[in-house]
């Protein structure tokens, strides 16, 4: 999809009235990059053309291509630049190996964590078994378990996302 010239004009007007020195907007195959007051142009990290063919499931949460999938211009303008790139959905914890995913230390035992559990960095989240080798997977940051992506005893690949942690604020 593309923006119409009229839509681009609206975007430009909105941007001009804003206080930003740089802007980069990509909608489908349309992109707009702007700068002023001597700021260098924010040349297109987000332009999809520039990206190499993305290998399937990325090992970590993608840091969100700058402003890429934004459908309406206004919110972009009003968003603080720091918001750009922080994934709202949390930190993906991936499997250190191919193997079998276990949520509990042994059959019948309660699971290490549930969705909503608060965890400290270093807490065990789950186990990935390779043959009889048990690999503890621990939380990289403190926070809350946002999602568990694999059913108990499911087969997992190296790099596959197992658990998402929403980091504690601060």
């Amino acid at each position: 999809m593309s923006l119409s010239p009229d839509e681009i004009r609206q975007i430009l007007a909105a941007l001009e009235k804003s206080e930003w020195d740089e802007a980069l907007i990509t909608v489908g195959d349309t992109s707009i990059a702007l700068s002023r007051n001597g700021a260098s142009l924010p040349v297109a990290t987000g332009m999809p053309v520039a990206a190499p063919p993305a290998p399937a499931p990325p090992p970590v949460t993608p840091a969100a291509p700058a402003l890429a999938p934004v459908p309406a211009p206004q919110p972009v303008v009003e968003q603080p630049p720091t918001a750009v790139g922080t994934a709202p959905d949390g930190i993906a914890v991936t499997s250190p190996t191919v193997g079998i995913f276990w949520r509990a230390p042994q059959p019948g035992a309660p699971p290490f964590v549930e969705v909503g559990s608060a965890v400290e960095a270093g807490d065990t989240l789950c186990i990935v078994e390779v043959m009889k080798l048990m690999n503890n997977v621990t939380a990289p940051v403190s926070g809350v378990v946002g999602a568990i992506h694999v059913p108990n005893s499911g087969a997992v690949e190296f790099g596959q996302t197992l658990v998402t942690i929403v980091p504690a604020a601060g």
Partner: protein, 454 residues
């Protein structure tokens, strides 16, 4: 057998996928994260990523490879060559987990993998082994035995491994004392076993090996021999089938010895029995048995029409070999050039990187075994092989001509390769006239070529 886990990468993974396709088997490639988009991965029916690019945490992990087979419901596993292919632990783990290992059973592998034991067995069968020692405790024992057996010049060799690692030529007791510890340490590092032994060093030798196939019904055949004398630092660069210019007695002796040894070891699957041929004395000595499919198997396939990898699969399924010795004939001549991502003029410095453009020649009698395609990456994590270029023609001269034309039509943009080296070797009168010896590339060809500039 229904679904095969391919526990390897690169061209041999693609080669195994092809054989599985021919045999009507499904395939799962167990690969590292670096290889998930490669040709081998796409030729397989499914891919499972077992670890990061580092081989220790992927292709060299018995646990991960077996776990990959189990989690993807594979009932068989092909290890290719290199990596875990000759590790009895993998064969044993497969056996324990009900996975058919496409290769020799673990106990057979243990027997052939210990070079000293294999050499003893060969000696017991009356196969020449060129003398040499048992495993040595220390440098002084080595010096004493070398004296006693009048072995100089001799080679220090690792009992557990191959590929030249741990190998050193020594010409005197001082030499031997100076090199013993280093060789043992190198063997320990490479193979986890520092045992070394001494073997007489033949100055002018050819490396000739016999391809054998054995099934579980007691059938053992050979597919003729290959000449792999065009080496540099014990690394094979050009392989040929058959080995030309050998007296019949030597050729037949090696073929017969190979079959007898395989039979005595209770060997199963494809294997290669390596010999050294002393070109001054026209004698051969047994070196070792490699319990895997080898890089250079295609030259044998070209001259015999027998598909070595498919035979491995047949044997693993418990079927008899599809061929019997009287039906096997060697016709024409085949040559293989290993195209590596190396700079031959800069001491064969590896040249990994992205292959911007890859164009392989197409024609009758030309076979290209590769995992490379436009945009492929030669990863610094793994070996530098880009492709194997194989030709088959009615005779050796025609095969050399065809290979020269094929090399000229092979285009690789983005990395350096050994293609100029191969073209230069095949262009020399010396190579064309007669088989060369194992030191020819290093001692004669390379100095002259590097001197010559272009």
């Amino acid at each position: 057998m229904r679904r095969v886990l391919i526990a390897n990468r690169g061209e041999i993974a693609a080669r195994v996928a092809r054989a599985c396709f021919d045999e009507g088997l499904e395939t799962v490639l167990a690969c590292s994260e670096a290889d998930r988009e490669t040709l081998a991965a796409r030729l397989a029916d499914r891919v499972v990523v077992i670890g990061p690019p580092s081989p220790l945490e992927s292709y060299l992990s018995v646990e991960r490879v077996v776990a990959a087979a189990l989690t993807t419901d594979c009932d068989a596993l092909h290890p290719g060559y290199g990596f875990l292919s000759e590790r009895p632990e993998l064969a044993a783990a497969c056996e324990e987990n009900g996975i058919t290992f496409i290769g020799p059973p673990a106990d057979v592998m243990r027997g052939s993998g210990d070079k000293l034991k294999a050499r003893e067995m060969a000696a017991d069968l009356g196969i020449p082994t060129g003398g040499g020692t048992r495993g040595l405790a220390d440098a002084e024992e080595a010096v004493a035995l070398a004296e006693e057996l009048d072995l100089y010049p001799c080679l220090i060799k690792a009992s557990a491994g191959g590929g030249g690692r741990g190998m050193t030529i020594v010409r005197s007791a001082d030499d031997l004392r100076a090199s013993f510890a280093r060789s043992s340490q190198e063997a320990e590092r490479a193979f986890g076993d520092g045992t070394v032994y001494l073997e007489r060093y033949v100055e002018r030798a050819r490396h000739v090996e016999v391809q054998v196939l054995a099934d579980t019904h007691g059938n053992v055949v050979h597919l003729g021999e290959r000449d792999c004398s065009t080496q540099r630092r014990y690394q094979k660069l050009i392989e040929e089938a058959p080995a030309v210019g050998l007296p019949d007695a030597v050729r037949d002796g090696m073929r017969d010895s190979a079959v007898r040894l395989a039979r005595a070891l209770g060997y199963v699957s494809a294997g290669t029995v390596e010999f050294l041929v002393d070109t001054d004395r026209n004698e051969f000595v047994f070196l070792e048995l490699n319990a895997r499919v080898q890089v250079e198997h295609p030259v044998t396939e070209m001259v015999t029409g027998v598909d070595v990898v498919r035979e491995q699969i047949r044997v693993a399924r418990g079927e008899p070999l599809s061929v019997a010795q009287p039906g096997i004939t060697v016709s024409g001549h085949a040559i293989e050039c290993r195209i590596n991502a190396e700079s031959p003029r800069r001491d064969f410095l590896p040249s990994p990187g992205r292959v911007e453009r890859w164009t392989a020649p197409q024609g009758h009698g030309v076979r290209v075994d590769t995992f490379v395609e436009n945009g492929a990456t030669i990863s610094p994590y793994y070996d530098s092989m880009v492709a194997k270029l194989i030709v088959h023609a009615p005779d050796r001269a025609a095969a050399i001509d065809l290979m020269l034309r094929a090399l000229a039509r092979t285009e690789v943009r983005g990395i350096e390769t050994t293609i100029p080296f191969h073209a230069a070797v095949l262009g020399t009168e010396r190579f064309r006239e007669s088989p060369v010896t194992t030191r020819w590339v290093e001692n004669e060809f390379l100095p002259a070529w590097l001197e010559g500039g272009e």
